[in-house]
Symmetry: C2
Subunit: 214 residues, 2 copies
């Protein structure tokens, strides 16, 4: 059996810096990723935990320009609809935010959950079937951190219609549900403060507002 | 503005080791965590991404022994029910698996999502409201990695009834939904292979079965 690694204080501090500088990226350079990097990142994502070891993540690497355009059009339409929910100053701020990197990100991946997978044989899902999709989210956060450690940014686009994305990508598997659409590439800028904080949309919550004791 | 960190090859390799050695832990030492460590870990978890910066994670630190016993009883009942779904050799294997560390884990945290939070003002949730719960999952994976880097193991228990757990913990907020119940403490053993693989329940999938191209 291999020897377990020892993570020293220096690593712990760098890991903390990784969490602090991760960011949801919407401003990408158009430079392509080096050959093989995306596959390596996706393989790392499969080291995430999954309920009953079900590994329900299904990654669809989107390269076709027609697909990308149709997805961007769907985002633009949904974003216009969402804008209608805000008035006055809030609407102005919303309209000024850049909420996706679909225009420039060199790599794009739609992440699905196989909600009827038999892998893992249902273990752990009986009372909380939603843990299958949660497993896919864990793989996305793993991907995100691994990418950032290599200088690669990720932006998670949720202002889209899942069924439309599935149709655009011609995904025939009934049991596949869209969990996320990811833009991936080198960021134009690096920040330790989220864009929605910097542009006055939403500050960080005080930590003590998120903890109760029983 | 602070200088962005540079993550070198050594860090990248250690991060990869962290992903490989994370593990879902069910066998805990009873040694308590050092004072303050759990709060530090939970605060690190709040560095996770969240849709519209909604920060919907709500952590309930469970110390009361009556609550812990009631939760463990709920797990035992659910686990007996789940066992009935399997026959023959599969049922024998299921019954032999240790599926929670509720008996010994020195720290336990119920993680909820505030599904009606106004923080973030709904940004990004209109077409995919489930991203609010996904944000909470991202915070759990962040917590998990930060803990493991400090030698602390986490086990995610899903074989429980969410509404019962909420009742046991006397959570009055209607809008709070249980996402996970976590056992936290020092692991009895360290492994780079998941327990469900080692005990013959479910092997790893070949990577190429999880990727499509469009």
């Amino acid at each position: 059996m291999p020897t377990p690694p020892v993570f020293d204080l220096q690593f712990q501090q760098q890991l903390d810096a990784l969490f602090r500088w991760r960011r949801d990226v919407r401003h990408f350079k158009t430079d392509p990723l080096p050959s093989g990097l995306l596959d390596n990142l996706l393989e790392t994502a499969t080291l995430a935990p999954s309920v009953g070891n079900s590994q329900p993540w299904r990654f669809v690497v989107v390269e076709d320009q027609n697909c990308r355009k149709a997805i961007r059009d769907n985002f633009e339409a949904c974003n216009q609809e969402a804008l209608k929910d805000y008035d006055g100053q809030k609407a102005e701020t919303y309209a000024s935010l850049k909420l996706s990197g679909l225009d420039r990100a060199p790599a794009q991946v739609a992440v699905f959950c196989d909600s009827h997978t038999t892998v893992g044989q249902g273990l752990g899902q009986k009372t909380m079937p939603e843990t299958l999709k949660y497993s896919v989210v864990s793989s996305i956060q793993t991907l995100w951190l691994s990418a950032r450690a290599q200088g690669v940014g990720i932006g998670w686009v949720s202002i889209i219609e899942p069924d439309m994305i599935k149709e655009i990508l011609d995904i025939q598997q009934d049991s596949w549900d869209l969990v996320a659409y990811l833009c991936i590439g080198y960021p134009e800028e690096e920040h330790d403060v989220p864009e929605l904080v910097r542009f006055g949309w939403q500050d960080r919550l005080p930590f003590d507002q998120t903890v109760l004791r029983r």
